[in-house]
Assembly symmetry: C2
Homo-oligomer: 343 residues x 2
DNA sequence: AGCCGCTGGTGAACCGGTAAAGCTCCGATT
DNA sequence: AATCGGAGCTTTACCGGTTCACCAGCGGCT
């Protein structure tokens, strides 16, 4: 019927129900001031006309928005590959949907672009708040966005996230657990294939790894920083395994690189886990579909996302609940870790 | 400085530049009617005050929105696992970003919820148009959303997408190519592990598969419909391999299931590709990080997404360019396919 | 009878932009 | 000298809601 016709507004509904715009507004927002009878008439009219309030107009006058922003600053192909983000996003979405809120997503090339985007979003009143991820050491977003006064929740260690309420996992403890586990299996040379050096959590893990190795009296450990993708993961693995003092165990900073590493090991004639133990991070289904299955430091990424969304709502509503630590990734032993050869 | 203070509006900028609101609006929209000198003053004022136009107010009066919607109706954990969507989304994003447009994303549980969401989005003038995916046979969204008159682009075969401009790949030809390739390698019993039966493209592939098998005179083929996830992919593979007339080659409808299938094969003592050939779909990095690497029907999902976004822009701007077929997935042979045993 | 307070509304102002009509110079045209 | 036209702004009326001040009834109380 309606075709592409003129869209129906609150005025039409008001006219049809025989009341004023104000009454319709009150009814639709479940505010007192309209009798049950008129409320019904209004809803009936709205239903008949197929009307829904214009979010645009509403947020202009009420200054409320039901959208939160998320900008991701990673190469697109990596995002597609890494299960982490989609899982994380779906966790966020779950909570947002409960509050009939949507997620505005944007991929950006660099942090400057991200800062500009948030300014545009926030000043343009397009979002109620934002989720910030992938913090660097001395992240330029912290001063820039603090100045905006935009509600935001930061995913990362409080040391990195400045004034923003943070949600994070205790990566240092998790790394320590990983190394201890491998040491307990008799491994004396444990290497690590980490993420980009400029990422805050990479630095945290790198230090924790080194500390734990020293603490346990293991041999000096080799750590390689990579771009998080499978190619670099493979190359790093190859480098490690070609060295004279090659490790008997390797810890990876995500699951992609671990899977790639397993491939390299096989290709080079090493048997996992007999010759070489591999331990992944950010456990996803990926770790379960390979052969052998990958042991991993697993955590509930979906739940992580949900928690982030919940904290963001608090911040938007002016409730400062401070930071939240979500459960530390915990060891899930599977088929890729075993006692060190000859141990 | 500004803290959470009152947000600056066009009026403040106008005052500071010593002009009227209208002039500021003209300047910011690059419309004629302001001299170069004033334009500069206006921009300077805006910069000093840190002002950006309110997208909300703008879209209320101009009826233009710079947001497009995408609702995904799949279990969250599957989305996280399957590289397809993130890759697809990043393709969309690439084109959107060029036009400084953002993507509104929402995960929904069922098609009714999706329909309701689109009504809300469209009637609420929150989006300029939408991207529809995962079409069913006789999809309920077609009649419901057609009535809305919302600009939308459909991802799927035109037979399924009703009046919406479609962007699709020729799955039938691709399936045929896959089967022909395996037949050429001497395989006589080729099975297929497909996606959910109610998905339109599953039906198309199923029929094309059966047709091709018949046409080539291969043995009657077994096809199993699954939920697209790795568990069902593994189970289907197990079922197929346990049968007396087990296939010597299996085609999968996505890469996740293929990887899971490779795992099952190994676990059951079959060597890929000597005993069994595997062929994946939706080739992603995933196929390259396993051992052996997976042969796949690959297509450029990123580009697919980009094309979808481009068509959506056309539709939104009233340019009906009709449907667009993007390149047919093509065979990328890797390590998981080989001549049939004994062939 | 007069006044109060409550319920169920109404009307107008406002949110921050855009768009179109109107007004003012100023140089060129007739 | 009078007219025209166009560049460069200003004015004003929206867009579609929300919000708030105000008001009409009406029953109850003194």
């Amino acid at each position: 019927m309606s075709g592409t016709g003129e869209r129906v507004t609150i005025k039409d509904v008001a006219a049809r129900a025989g009341v004023s715009k104000g009454a319709v507004s009150l009814a639709f927002n479940h505010k007192p001031g309209v009798s049950e009878a008129t409320r019904e008439r209004i809803f009936a009219a709205a239903r008949e006309l197929g009307w829904a309030p214009s979010a645009t107009a509403r947020s202009l006058s009420s200054k409320r928005v039901d959208i939160v922003g998320l900008a991701l600053c990673r190469p697109a192909r990596l995002l597609g590959l890494e299960p982490f983000y989609m899982d994380f996003i779906s966790g966020i979405e779950g909570v947002l949907a409960e509050r009939s809120c949507s997620l505005l997503l944007r991929l950006v090339r660099d942090l400057d672009e991200e800062i500009a985007l948030h300014q545009e979003w926030w000043r343009g009143r397009m979002i109620a708040g934002a989720i910030l991820v992938d913090f660097r050491e001395d992240d330029p977003r912290v001063p820039a966005l603090r100045r905006l006064g935009m509600p935001a929740v930061a995913v990362g260690h409080p040391r990195l996230t400045g004034p923003f309420p943070a949600v994070w996992t205790d990566d240092a403890s998790a790394v320590a657990e990983a190394v201890r586990y491998l040491a307990a299996l008799g491994h004396r040379r444990v290497a690590r294939v980490g993420g980009p050096a400029d990422l805050g959590h990479s630095a945290i893990r790198t230090r924790a790894f080194a500390d734990t190795v020293r603490e346990l009296g293991l041999e000096e450990a080799r750590q390689i920083a990579t771009g998080f993708d499978e190619k670099e993961g493979a190359r790093a693995t190859r480098t490690l395994l070609l060295a004279a003092d090659r490790p008997t165990a390797i810890v990876y900073d995500n699951d992609i690189m671990a899977v790639a590493g397993a491939g390299v090991a096989a290709e080079m004639g090493f048997t996992v886990p007999d010759d070489l133990s591999l331990l992944a991070w950010d456990d996803s289904q990926l770790c379960r579909i390979t052969h052998p299955t990958l042991s991993a430091m697993s955590h509930d990424v979906h739940h992580f996302g949900a928690e982030v969304a919940r904290v963001l709502f608090d911040v938007v509503n002016g409730v400062d609940t401070g930071g939240h630590q979500v459960p530390t990734p915990s060891l899930t032993p599977r088929g890729s870790t075993a006692p060190a050869p000859g141990a």
